[in-house]
């Protein structure tokens, strides 16, 4: 992503409304021809760069609030700061990269695309994930990947309690420590196919120097897929 592209359309959220800014980013007001945008003075505003549906590049020069890059399709979005709750929620495709920390529910329900968090992610990272990928270079909070259905979470740091609770077919890779595993989340062997996909994800996230062999893999024990009264203690 070229954050210093001289052709970038400059959008100043200190001067323009969020509605105008998103209309520009979404190409609804005909101002997106260059395909490069630089959003300055974001001021923690909510819903910045949500609903993009084109292969544009967006640099957000500061902190973003809730639901930044929500439902992203195709776009490559960089947040040069921290991001609030639900960054890249329900992303369909594209790339969202946050240089700082992110609040809870990062990448929630994402169907596709890649979310890269340079710092830490709070609770429920990857909740209900449906096929997207998330790489967190720091730690993730509790209940991460709760009910995650498909997709992958890679954590270079530590994972909090109840990791992968009620997980379906999503996969989790953690390099650091684990608090506790959630209901029906179990450790699984790392095989060559997993090393290969992990290597690819790390490279896409800019972690070429990280050894894929240092990670443990977690996924579903598949014991809660059909309701059984004898599993009462797990419900």
């Amino acid at each position: 992503m070229n954050s210093a592209n001289s052709n970038a359309v400059r959008i100043d959220l200190g001067r323009h409304s969020l509605r105008d800014a998103n209309a520009s980013l979404q190409g609804r007001n005909g101002s997106g021809e260059s395909g490069y945008f630089r959003v300055v003075n974001p001021g923690g505003a909510h819903a910045i760069a949500c609903g993009l549906d084109a292969p544009v590049e967006v640099d957000i020069m500061g902190h973003a609030g809730y639901f930044c890059a929500g439902m992203n399709k195709l776009a490559r979005i960089r947040v040069a700061g921290n991001a609030g709750q639900g960054i890249a929620e329900n992303m369909m495709s594209g790339l969202v990269r946050v240089e700082g920390d992110v609040s809870q529910c990062a990448g929630a329900t994402a169907h596709g695309g890649l979310l890269v968090v340079g710092g830490n992610a709070a609770a429920r990272c990857g909740i209900s994930l449906k096929g997207g990928d998330i790489v967190v270079k720091g730690n993730v909070g509790h209940m991460s990947m709760f009910m995650a259905q498909a997709g992958r979470l890679v954590v270079l740091g530590d994972a909090g309690d109840s990791l992968g609770d009620s997980i379906y077919e999503a996969r989790i890779y953690v390099r650091g420590g684990i608090g506790t595993l959630g209901a029906d989340c179990v450790e699984k062997p790392v095989e060559s196919i997993h090393l290969a996909e992990l290597r690819k994800l790390l490279d896409q996230a800019g972690c070429e120097d990280v050894d894929a062999g240092d990670f443990r893999r977690f996924g579903s024990g598949r014991n809660l897929y059909n309701f059984k009264a004898e599993n009462l203690d797990d419900y």
């Binding site: 969020l18 509605r19 998103n22 209309a23 979404q26 609804r28 909510h46 819903a47 949500c50 609903g51 549906d53 609030g65 809730y66 639901f67 929500g70 439902m71 399709k73 709750q85 639900g86 929620e89 329900n90 369909m92 529910c105 929630a108 329900t109 169907h111 429920r124 909740i127 209900s128 449906k130 096929g131 709760f146 009910m147 259905q149 498909a150 009620s166 379906y168 077919e169 897929y225 059909n226 309701f227 009264a229 004898e230």
Partner: protein, 440 residues
């Protein structure tokens, strides 16, 4: 009572249903999950009567003097509000719980009658969009099948917080209904019991919801009305908080609302009757100066044009129907008597929507059963039924001297029971007494 009958005396506490319940729980170790909706009797619209008109109010001439039924939903913030010919909408029911033919029939019927239908858990199908002139897209906690393209293809967005059959509960689609198509739409393996979350994954509470609504508006260019749907848990506060969060339309679903699959204990024991839901929701709208600015849609046990008129008289802008719409397209058909009996039930009693064995081809994913439902014919039946509801509501409104169904008011009604008077906030017939309301 003679002596020989003592041994056949039924207990009021441990009646046959209670004993069956205990025996079944003991035999299986499972609680009952079923569809349909609450079967217990609760105070309802039958406990209210319309007064009509005589000397103190003048009626309108039936078939001659106009009585409007149109409704506009969502003009508070949306640049393209939903405009309906009749104040009866089709409630959200998912593809997955219903067959594709059933969804198509609902779309055809609603469109023919000039009203909207609604998606459900699992996303929007092409058939549904194609056959629904006005389609409300549900934004649910599970986010199954949720994608921004469908969001933009919808005419309105309904953020679902809960539903009347199970306020506070998530969903359950049992494995036998998770076919390959349903599984693909929901990103899940085939054949598993699919749980739908009871809380949204990325927001909690009204302050977060306000930001979520902002995001939905930004993504859809501020065109589409945003509904917020709640089960009737605490209708006054739920409505107030929905208004505060920025809803264009509040949908409140009473405990008589239907379900595809929910625990029996939830269906029968959680939530409040629709009468309560309407009164409290309207009170909240009035207290915040938003009545008729934020529209109110009420669901849960609506069956007839009388129910529609009474809900509107209490202050609703429209109603929604689910179970009644399924009956209109063929559920509980007496012509299927033999097949219902093979399933241990009978027309008028069948409730196993969760099972996938629906002989009418509505609440099933079985290809053979689904093919029994002709979506064109079923759609016509639904349109007929919807027209009857609208005409009956018009008839009652004219009888009360109203030139539009929205001009009906609580003063047009009396309650037959103390309970209904208290719940609906209209006086007990023959008195000016509304229990719970101080005489002024």
């Amino acid at each position: 009572m003679t002596g020989e009958n003592w041994s056949l005396r039924e207990s009021s506490t441990f009646d046959r249903n209670s004993i069956d319940y205990i025996r079944n729980a003991a035999a299986t170790g499972l609680y009952r999950i079923r569809g349909f909706g609450a079967k217990r009797r609760v105070p309802n619209f039958d406990d209210l009567l319309m007064k009509g008109a005589s000397m103190s109010r003048y009626p309108l001439e039936g078939y001659r003097e106009r009585c409007g039924t149109d409704v506009v939903l969502g003009a508070r913030h949306a640049s393209k509000p939903v405009k309906l010919k009749i104040p009866v909408t089709i409630a959200g029911m998912s593809f997955g719980s219903l067959s594709a033919n059933a969804k198509e029939a609902l779309g055809r019927g609603a469109s023919e009658a000039g009203t909207s239908t609604t998606t459900g858990d699992g996303g929007m199908t092409g058939e549904e969009r194609e056959h629904s002139k006005t389609l409300v897209y549900q934004y649910l906690p599970s986010r199954y099948g949720m994608n921004p393209d469908d969001l933009r293809r919808a005419d309105a967005i309904e953020v679902v917080v809960g539903q009347g059959a199970k306020p506070g509960g998530g969903g359950m689609l049992l494995g036998q209904k998770i076919t390959s198509r349903v599984a693909e739409m929901r990103c899940l393996p085939e054949g598993i019991d699919q749980r739908s979350a009871c809380r949204h994954p990325d927001w909690t509470g009204p302050d977060d919801l306000a930001i979520k609504i902002l995001e939905l508006r930004e993504i859809t260019g501020w065109e589409k009305p945003i509904y917020v749907k709640c089960g009737a848990a605490r209708p006054y506060y739920d409505t107030a908080l929905s208004i505060k969060a920025g809803a264009d339309v509040v949908v409140i679903d009473g405990m008589q609302g239907g379900t595809a699959a929910t625990q029996e204990v939830f269906i029968e024991h959680v939530g409040q009757p629709t009468l309560v839901a309407v009164k409290e929701a309207v009170q909240a709208l009035c207290d915040f100066g938003m009545h008729r600015k934020v529209q109110l849609v009420v669901g849960g046990g609506i069956r007839s044009g009388a129910d529609v008129a009474k809900a509107l008289a209490l202050g609703a802008d429209a109603v929604s129907i689910g179970t009644a719409a399924l009956v209109a397209i063929g559920d509980q058909d007496p012509a299927l008597d033999d097949e219902y009996r093979k399933l241990g039930s009978a027309p008028g009693f069948w409730e196993d929507y969760q099972d996938g064995s629906d002989p009418a081809g509505i609440t099933t994913q079985d290809p053979e059963l689904s093919s029994r439902l002709d979506p064109i014919l079923a759609g016509r039946k639904l349109a007929n039924y919807l027209r009857v509801l609208a005409m009956e509501a018009q008839t009652l409104a004219r009888a009360c001297g109203k030139s539009h169904v929205h001009n009906l008011e609580p003063d047009d009604m009396v309650a037959l029971t103390v309970e209904a008077a208290a719940m609906a906030g209209v006086p007990l017939a023959g008195t000016n007494w509304i229990p719970g309301k101080e005489a002024g």
